[in-house]
């Protein structure tokens, strides 16, 4: 069931891309209640079970396989994400409706697909059980959020989007260096296994410092906040809501995890 929470937005984004035209908006709006229902189901199952839900990809258990874990924090964040995405979707219908008489317009097409992609990436961030899955999810989040900034194509928004991209990529690379150091020190990237193995040594401290700095760059905490005002000022209203509410919180969530 955890996999469904990731798959529904991603499949929605892909089908919306293929169908094009007015269908992008319909598919996006249709997949929102489905995603919301799945997330609420996860929340209910978690409360009933009392222990974190774990899903092993390919039935291979760590340290060789990749695990998706949903504990209390993940479930709450996913529910909030689904609620915000649904609210944004309803609000954005006014801004991003394909005009009558044309079969497809550029901005609505891109917006709905990117909204679903951001949602899928966020769910992966909240469910990822090892550091490298989190890295991939973080990159997905960045690639889906950057075009949202420059959706109207003006010069300032393009520059703001490029600045956001470079800052975010720097953050991802610092996170990756921290991951490399942790793997070199402990031999595993699974978070549950690491929590049992970690002890204070220079490698751990340096890795933690690097990863925190990298993630803070993506969260736009001072002093790495320079990309945020131009990006949010330039983005259309609905996109800005998604960006400020969810995207920056995704990277902060990973800081909390670590």
């Amino acid at each position: 069931m955890l996999v469904l929470a990731i798959i529904v937005p991603v499949v929605g984004a892909l089908t919306a891309f293929i169908c094009g035209g007015r269908w992008t908006e319909r598919i996006a709006l249709a997949s929102m209640p489905i995603g919301l229902a799945i997330v609420i189901a996860i929340l209910v199952a978690l409360q009933r079970g009392g222990a974190p839900l774990v899903y092993l990809l390919g039935a291979w258990s760590p340290p060789l396989g990749i695990a998706l874990r949903a504990d209390g924090l993940s479930a709450v964040m996913m529910t909030v994400t689904a609620a915000v995405v649904c609210a944004v979707g309803i609000f954005a219908r006014a801004d991003f409706r394909t005009p009558e008489g044309s079969s497809e317009a550029r901005a609505p097409f891109a917006f709905w697909i990117l909204l679903l992609a951001v949602w899928g990436a966020l769910n992966t961030v909240f469910l990822g059980g090892d550091l490298f899955t989190l890295y991939v999810a973080l990159e997905l989040l960045t690639f889906a959020a950057v075009p949202l900034v420059s959706l109207d194509g003006r010069a300032e928004t393009l520059q703001a989007a490029l600045r956001y991209l470079l800052f975010a990529l720097l953050g991802s690379l610092l996170y990756l260096v921290g991951t490399a150091l942790i793997y070199g020190a402990y031999g595993t990237l699974d978070i549950v296994l690491l929590s049992g193995l970690v002890y204070m040594q220079p490698a751990t401290v340096v890795a933690a410092a690097l990863m925190t700095v990298g993630l803070l760059a993506k969260t736009a905490l001072f002093p790495l906040h320079l990309w945020l005002p131009p990006a949010h000022a330039g983005a259309p209203a609905a996109a800005s809501a998604v960006l400020s509410a969810l995207v920056v919180k995704g990277s902060f969530f990973i800081v909390v995890r670590l």
Binding site: E139, S150, R154, Q159, L166, L169, A180, L181, G184
Partner: protein, 112 residues
């Protein structure tokens, strides 16, 4: 060649890339510096793979898988950044960092 030499080269590449990313105003150079930074990080991954090599294996396969994934991600990121840069150049006629990009856009390409 011991792994330490590769590790130091990786660290030097990371340092140079970071310097280039932060200081150069030309956006294309920033993108190139980001690629250099990525190459340094992957080299560090390679050193980690060598240190984790058990007897009988050439190198620990997990960091190699991570490097391949990282290269794909960096390639996609570079493609996105270059596409944005091209569009910015079409809109403003310059590929340098400008604090007043709006007035640049009103001038139009080539300042006509």
């Amino acid at each position: 060649m011991s792994a330490a030499v590769f590790g130091l080269c990786g660290a030097a590449a990371v340092g140079l890339g970071l310097y280039g990313l932060i200081t150069h105003p030309q956006l294309l150079r920033k993108i190139l510096a980001f690629n250099l930074l990525g190459a340094g990080v992957f080299l560090v991954f390679g050193v980690v793979a060598h240190r984790g090599a058990a007897a009988g294996f050439g190198g620990d396969p997990v960091p190699q898988a991570l490097v391949i994934t990282g290269m794909v991600v960096a390639f996609a990121a570079t493609a996105l950044a270059v596409a944005l840069l091209l569009r910015l150049f079409q809109a403003t006629g310059s590929a340098t960092w400008r604090a007043d990009a709006a007035s640049q856009a009103s001038d139009g390409p080539a300042g006509t």
